[in-house]
Amino acid sequence: MNVVVCVKQIPDPAAPPSLDPGTNNLIRAGKLILDDSDAYGVEMALQLVDKAGEGEVTLVSMTPNGETSGLRTALAMGAAKAILISDDSLAGTDALGTAKVLAAAIKRAEPDLILAATESTDGYTGTTPVQIAEILGLPSVTFAKKVEIDGGSLKVERQTEAGYDEVESPLPALVTVTAGVVEPRYPSFKGIMAAKSKPVETLTIADLGIDAGQVGAIGARQEITDVSASEERASGEIVVDEGDAHQRVIQFLEQLKVL
């Protein structure tokens, strides 16, 4: 059972990032960390491989400046190796371009299963994984809250607004996982020490046979035309309990049509 996990390396959300005033792109200079959303995919993959008793977890990431800090974290958790695509001509790539690049890299690993997060923490369009599946001609199941491999097939509990759907699919397939799917482990000390010597294959788009015109700012079909601050949230209503708090809370929820 070979699993590829797409892991995005992002600027540390704890340190407020800044945008390039010219392109409105996120400035990605400096250290990047493993997107928390992808820690779930990594954990899920490790558990599935563990259960299968054979195979390994390969990470795939597209990142500027050959940055590997986030990958090392995922390798320390237990992934076996990583493929990193880093190329100056990728600057300004949109989600479709990213999907093309990641799909080409994933293909080389010949996985039985591909995992990604439902959406990233910094870009959060939530569109990249399904585009990868489409390019690779594979089935995709999104919003997984439980993933199992049974014989040669995939069983997923897919989170919906009402509850969950049970979905079965043949392998290979792509699955996007939610934050509820598994609890990511902390890297162990041995894992941390081993991470340094695990292989990270760094590729350019030429290595992947991708034409520079399809990616980067030139190939992008998305353009960020404007960025504005989100509206301040109106201050909430404080319910002081004068014996009728429960009724007022119910009223409020009814008004929101959540009850």
Partner: protein, 387 residues
């Protein structure tokens, strides 16, 4: 010279910090006040192997050194959970056993130090021999195949949580100097004849301190660690890690205090502007920050020397200096953090004043400020000994 943190050390810090932050200072204080142990925290840190980082790999440990162990202790303390037991169990006891133990002893204890399952207390201090270890009077007398231990130890931390105690004993007298010859024994805490009495102290910490009465305690010969009569030299091997880990606890407390203080100073307004704008508040905090960072550099250096040049005289000198600097810095940092909080500094809610006992302890133990100054005066400056 490279002062950058390696990726491995950063990852280790992050992982320990993430675990410890889930517990935090409130958990630590609640456990201490309820006379309970911080078992959940201990297990959570032990699970990924973080308490066994310095145990050799062949015994299931991480194969790292005191550098890594110090970093774990600092991150725990920085999250508001300074664990005194780390100074004794993995730092002193595991180090001494790994260095001087027989194969059988290493097999017996190291794998469980590696997993954190085993805690061992360390007993050297006696009512009549604190700073002066040459005065130890707890005796170990050979009696056929066994040794009999008689005497008293006090201020021994964590005996109730420990499975065994590494005890420093006097097993003879050097005929030339008249000084005691010391030997080390691992004594199980439930050995008959060993009485344990809680010694109450004004420190809010989950570890309790004990007075130990040894009344004809029988110890098998296979519990003697290293060579008989060589105890002093062997203990010194554990004392550098002890000093370094104490420094790490102090440095972690300092970081915790300064983080709280700067957050508070940035928010609290008394005259329509954050109090952190008043230099009467910001300068002492800046000064404390500098002193803490200086102590941290010295602690790193001490840990590096301990791991890579442990036999050099500098290893002991620098470990002592780091311990001194870190203890002084943490008292200044915590004091200023409390001052910055005004009345809130003394509240239970803000979680600062309850650390005073621990920070204050670090000026006294495991080696007092004065004994370090004696050491530096004598060994670093070549001044005559006063005692």
């Amino acid at each position: 010279m490279d002062f950058r943190q390696s990726d491995e050390h950063l990852m280790l810090r992050e992982a320990v910090s993430a675990i410890a932050s889930k517990f935090g200072h409130e958990y630590y204080v609640a456990k201490a006040r309820a006379d309970e142990r911080t078992e959940e925290l201990w297990n959570a840190v032990a699970e990924p192997g973080f308490l066994g980082v310095s145990v050799p790999e062949e015994y299931g440990g991480g194969g790292g050194g005191i550098t890594e162990l110090a970093l774990v202790a600092e991150e725990l303390a920085a999250a508001g959970c300074p664990l005194l037991i780390m100074v004794v169990s993995p730092a002193i006891c595991a180090t001494i056993i790994a260095k001087f133990g027989t194969d059988a002893q290493k097999q017996r204890w190291l794998p469980r130090f590696a997993t954190g399952e085993l805690k061992m207390a360390f007993a050297i201090t006696e009512p009549d021999a604190g700073s002066n270890s040459h005065n130890l009077s707890l005796t170990a007398a050979k009696d056929g195949d066994i040794y009999r231990l008689n005497g008293t130890k006090y201020y021994i931390s964590g005996v109730d949580e420990a499975e065994a105690i590494l005890v420093v004993t006097r097993s003879g007298v050097d005929p030339d100097t008249g000084r005691g010859r010391l030997s080390l024994f691992v004594v199980d805490t439930d050995t008959p004849g060993l009485e344990k009495q809680v010694l109450p102290v004004e420190i809010t910490a989950p570890e309790k301190q004990f007075t130990l009465f040894f009344d004809n305690v029988e110890v098998e010969a296979d519990r003697l660690v290293g060579a008989e009569g060589e105890g002093l030299r062997q203990v010194f091997f554990g004392l550098n890690p002890e000093r370094i880990l104490s420094a790490s606890l102090a440095n972690g407390i300092s970081r915790y205090a300064l983080e709280k203080a700067s957050a508070y100073a940035g928010e609290r307004e008394v005259w329509g502007t954050p109090i952190g704008r008043h230099q009467g508040i910001s300068h002492p905090l800046a000064k404390a920050k500098i002193e803490v960072e200086l102590a941290r550099v010295m602690t790193d250096k001490a840990a590096w020397l301990c791991d890579f040049d442990g036999d050099s005289p500098a290893a002991g000198e620098v470990a002592n200096m780091a311990k001194y600097a870190a203890a002084e810095a943490t008292l200044a940092a915590l004091d200023q953090a409390i001052q910055t909080h005004g009345g809130n500094g003394m509240s239970s809610e803000y979680g600062l004043a309850d650390l005073w006992g621990m920070a204050r302890l670090l000026r006294i133990a495991p080696v007092s400020r004065e004994m370090i100054l004696n050491f530096v005066a004598q060994h670093s400056l070549g001044l005559p000994k006063s005692y």
